[in-house]
Symmetry: C2
Subunit: 131 residues, 2 copies
């Protein structure tokens, strides 16, 4: 099965994007990372452990994201919530890839402004130079 | 006293931006709106009421945002936390204005992708057409 991201997801230090649906978050950095992690691990509970969130929280996020879109992004296999494994659908992979492209483009479009803004931060709060 | 936004803040339906400092949010839609509202109302407690958040939460957000930057964005006048009034500093107004400009530019840079992404949402979850 093709994985969304074999390597670590690219980070855009300095900003995150959140896509809203009627004012409520439909996709953001947390949901995108969770979907990528579930697809990588093949399991909601394993992804939740890896991301240091409760299984319950991961499950609710998956339910919420599935409800926001016209098709499910994650399908949990039958055989019990915890046991059956889970995968991202092609639709889900496409949605996350689109989100990551928007994140990259938006970040690129304000890179100069973001650097100027970052200079207003307390030095100890500025992102470190390494990427 | 010059107010940050006499009119309603411009909304960029479909996305929000969050600026991070060492991975923690330094400025996002909630903080920006709170600073604008405090500056408009001249009071943290009045802004909190207006935004339907607890006074405690508003106060903690102000403390957090002031700590993230090299200068305070909000100054609460002496004479008691609740009584003395509060204003945005010029530094704070500039920071929020910069954030709003980044929001507008980032949103503009992905407007086509955002429209395509929005088409993936469940119709009932799509943002309404009116701005």
């Amino acid at each position: 099965m093709r994985m969304l991201h074999r390597a670590k997801p690219i980070r855009y230090p300095g900003m995150t994007l959140r896509v809203l649906a009627r004012g409520e978050p439909a996709m953001g950095p947390g949901r995108a990372a969770l979907i990528e992690k579930i697809d990588e691990m093949g399991s909601i509970s394993a992804a939740a452990r890896e991301m240091k969130m409760s299984y319950r929280r991961a499950w609710l996020l998956v339910e919420s994201v599935n409800r926001s879109f016209s098709q499910p992004l994650i399908i949990a296999a039958t055989g019990g919530k915890r046991g059956g494994g889970a995968v991202a659908t092609e639709f889900g992979r496409d949605a996350v890839a689109r989100f990551r492209r928007m994140e990259a483009r938006a970040s690129g479009s304000i890179s100069r402004e973001l650097a100027e803004f970052t200079a207003l931060l307390r030095p100890s709060a500025r992102p470190s130079r390494k990427r």
